[in-house]
Amino acid sequence: MEKKIKVKICIGTLCYVMGGSELQLLEEHLPEELKKRVDIEGSICLGFCNSNEDEKPPFASVNGKCVSRASITKLINQIKKELEDGLH
């Protein structure tokens, strides 16, 4: 069984106020072929907000890698990249 890509979305108040609400819709925006290969979970504060002033909320992570200023498009691209990298 193939390992799934793990996506964590910050559901903390800060990320939500800073534009993270649309990330709630990620699952339904995933292309069909990706749906079965991704696990999405919500998480309170991923810890990125205090680590680096240059990175801005909303935060999410794909297989542990930080995605700042996250949007649905950005996350889907990152998921695809992870899948590609997994092939090499």
């Binding site: 559901i11 903390g12 108040t13 800060l14 939500y16 106020v17 800073m18 534009g19 609400s21 649309e22 709630q24 819709l25 309170i44 504060c45 801005k56 949007s71």
Partner: protein
């Protein structure tokens, strides 16, 4: 907010830093550092022309957050910290007038239609042949628009087979439904308070975030700190905003130090009952129709622009006003704070009610973040005064009409005005002349209703879904 908008995010970041410093007790000493943190010396790439301009804009935003008006004549030597004392001493509520931050306004050039280099000088030349003003000619095989005769009708843009003609609007002017914004002699946007209905569309439309409203944040936090009995009244639209159950929102807001937190949906149910009664009476008296009065921007529209509509507007007080009265029956000494998505509510609160302050969802969010209150971790064990779907439904287009029809199952023939676009403006004007196909008109100036208000933080699709969960609950 329909899409991610950098101008809005930076505003929110400044607000968050402002409240954080307040709670840390460092506002006086560190407020002037905020612009330097936002636009540091070695900034990789300033968005505006330079970091100094960016800092000036941030300074103005901070002054606005202190509830001080930004005017062209203000003393430029005053730093944000210099205004804190004024805010501290202030007893009265800052007014609702919207201000333009001159430094932020980009003086966008006048609206015009431009032929881009995608023009191929085709044989059809529909732009030239269909221009009603003969403003287009072909020079060296390319179309050219004569700006002096062009009236921006847009026909050329629509008929060009290559989409080679574009329209560059002035976003704030285009968004304003009542022509309250125009440019001064320097090209900077100016708002005419006599015309402004405080709908807030310009605030969201300006890509530079130049339109600002004086915040009541400082006054609210100060009142709580001074041990006053401050009661938060949450607008029905709050349900869709923070992605957690209402119980959690309420207990989170309580933790900010509010004496109590109530739902305005309770007042909305009183409004619905009273308005249904009023409608019945008016119909018996032979009135043609009645319109709602809960949307404050609409009420201002009827007062300032479509005065023919005024006699048709319901005189029933708004949910905010009735909630305020209800709160004050038990706490006559309370300072009430309306929390909502609306810009115009500030104007209603100040000019037409006993509500002392208004916060928006962004500002409430900033308070929660700065106090480290994580809403999803809040307790669900709170008492909610018991509003139902009828009151909570006021948050979205169609909700008020639905509430009236619940009260009066037969005879209500409703017309829903959802948003203030051009066709709806025309419809309202003709209603003022007595032409109305229904007998009850619900008007909301924001398309989709308050869930899509200018100060909402949640994506509209997410907000609507969350609200629907509550409306389907019994």
């Amino acid at each position: 907010m329909g899409y991610t908008n950098g101008a809005m995010l930076i505003k929110r970041e400044i607000t968050n830093r402002f409240t954080k410093l307040y709670y840390e007790g460092k506002l006086e000493t560190e407020i002037d550092k905020i612009p330097l943190i936002i636009s540091p010396k070695m900034a990789k790439k300033p968005v505006r022309c330079c970091i100094y301009k960016e800092r000036e804009v941030v300074n103005n935003r901070l002054i606005s957050l202190l509830g001080i008006p930004i005017t062209p004549t203000m003393d430029e030597l005053m730093r944000p910290s210099d205004y804190i004392e004024i805010a501290k001493q202030r007893e009265e509520t800052p007014t609702c007038r919207l201000n333009i931050i001159d430094a932020a306004c980009s003086s966008c050039s006048k609206e015009q239609h431009v032929v881009t280099n995608h023009c191929r000088g085709c044989v059809a030349q529909p732009c030239m042949l269909n221009c009603p003003k003969n403003a287009i000619s072909f020079i060296d095989g390319k179309a050219e628009i004569n700006a002096d005769t062009c009236v921006n009708c847009g026909i050329c843009r629509n008929v060009c087979p290559f989409h080679a003609i574009i329209n560059t609007p002035v976003p704030c002017e285009q968004a304003c439904p009542v022509d309250a914004i125009s440019k001064d002699k320097y090209g900077i946007a100016r708002l005419d308070e006599d015309k402004c209905i405080h709908c807030g569309k310009c605030i969201t439309a300006c890509p530079y975030g130049a339109v600002t409203q004086k915040s009541h944040l400082y006054d609210v936090m100060k009142s709580i700190d001074n041990g006053k009995k401050v009661i938060a009244m949450l607008a029905p639209a709050v349900i869709g905003q923070y992605n957690v159950d209402l119980e959690k929102i309420i207990s989170g807001v309580k933790e900010l130090g509010f004496f109590d937190v109530v739902e305005v949906a309770v007042g909305a149910e009183m409004t619905a009952a009273e308005e249904a009664h009023e409608w019945k009476e008016r119909m018996e008296e032979g009135a043609k129709f009645m319109t709602t009065s809960c949307c404050p921007a609409y009420v201002e529209l009827a007062e300032k622009h479509i005065t023919d509509l005024k006699p048709f507007v319901s005189t029933t007080p708004s949910p905010m006003v009735l909630t305020d009265r209800w709160v004050k029956t038990t706490h006559p000494d309370a300072i009430t704070v309306f929390v909502g998505p609306c810009v115009a509510k500030r104007s209603e609160a100040i000019n037409k009610s006993d509500v002392k302050y208004v916060l928006n969802f962004e500002e409430l969010g900033a308070m929660l973040i700065s106090k480290g209150i994580e809403l999803s971790e809040q307790s669900t064990e709170v008492d909610i005064a018991g509003a139902g779907p009828v009151g909570r439904g006021f948050a979205q287009s169609g909700g008020v009409a639905a509430a009236i029809k619940t009260a009066i199952p037969e005879g209500v023939n409703e017309i829903i005005i959802n948003g203030l676009d051009k066709p709806n403006m025309r419809a309202l004007k003709s209603m003022g002349k007595g032409k109305c196909d229904g007998n009850f008109v619900e008007v909301m100036v924001c398309t989709d209703g308050c869930v899509a208000g200018p100060s909402c933080i949640a994506d509209i699709r997410v907000a609507k879904r969350q609200l629907a969960k509550y409306l389907n609950r019994n």
